[in-house]
Symmetry: C2
Amino acid sequence: MIQLRKDTDLAFFLLRHFLKQPKGFQTSAKSLSESLNLPYPTVSKILKVLNKNSVLESVQGSKGGYGLGAVYEEFSVGQLIEMIEGPIALTACTSSTEQNCVSQAFCGVHPHMELMNRVIRDALMALPLSYLVNKPQRYPKKQEVTAFWKQYFDEGNRV
Amino acid sequence: MIQLRKDTDLAFFLLRHFLKQPKGFQTSAKSLSESLNLPYPTVSKILKVLNKNSVLESVQGSKGGYGLGAVYEEFSVGQLIEMIEGPIALTACTSSTEQNCVSQAFCGVHPHMELMNRVIRDALMALPLSYLVNKPQRYPKKQEVTAFWKQYFDEGNRV
DNA sequence: TCATATAGTACCGTTTTAGTACTATATATT
DNA sequence: AATATATAGTACTAAAACGGTACTATATGA
Ligand code: FES
Ligand code: FES
């Protein structure tokens, strides 16, 4: 299904809550989990990762909690995905040293996989996190997307 | 990792072998599995699915085997993925009746997920199967991809 | 000193995936 | 008609990934 993991989905859900609050808003993982009716350990685990990557910032101890990081605007949807579940890689062999398939060196599909992966990854990296609270003006028609890629992929040299 | 399943990967690998052969070429799953040094049941299972979806055509019985379907050119990379592993859906709630997340009706992330999914799905649907044997003229620079999506997603109305 | 928060680690049950085995059906050859 | 060989379809099993839980350590305000 090329499906995101559940915790990645939840990360978007949680982050949106922070994005919707006024700047400087801070809350604890516990209260957040209670108000959203979600298991605390799950919420906590995700917020910890976001904090580690500077999307959120944390204050420990009593009266502590999480708030939006100062530089959160630098990150994209694609980056958030990679923070939670690792590199966006269509196959195990993509963007890594591991071998998949039959043999990376002789696998004729490999270079095409790499590019397919870029198609997806670049698109997700192009989406700023602000997209989670900003409604796009409009979404491109399927035909527009097709036309965009067509100029690059169609009618190349047989390989 | 947003990773394709191994059998999908293998489907591309196998299909490429057919695409590289001259038109009308036909071979059995058994001989193909032997020449590629892959387990026969796995190869067989995948070819069956491709046949069912008219990407390949089959002849049963002795001297039978698989060959490229007459209408294989109609299909895209995205369609092939969906044949093997079902709908391209970033979350369980995307493009289905199932509920994921907290509640689809009240989940503020949901409409954004739907669009993210289209970003990926449309891109893969725009790639013709011929791409597996045709080398693209060139690949768009990351900046070009970003610019394409930026005109749609950037600076929308806060929602 | 204590209460309460984040930070980090380790574990286990469930689900999905990958691979295997087996049976049924179709067709060319003998 | 019998047989060999191919696809078609189903059922099962072992392994890996995922989701969730529990527990411990550390930091800080009251
Ligand atoms: S080795 Fe990478 S796709 Fe085959
Ligand atoms: S219900 Fe679809 S993303 Fe939350």
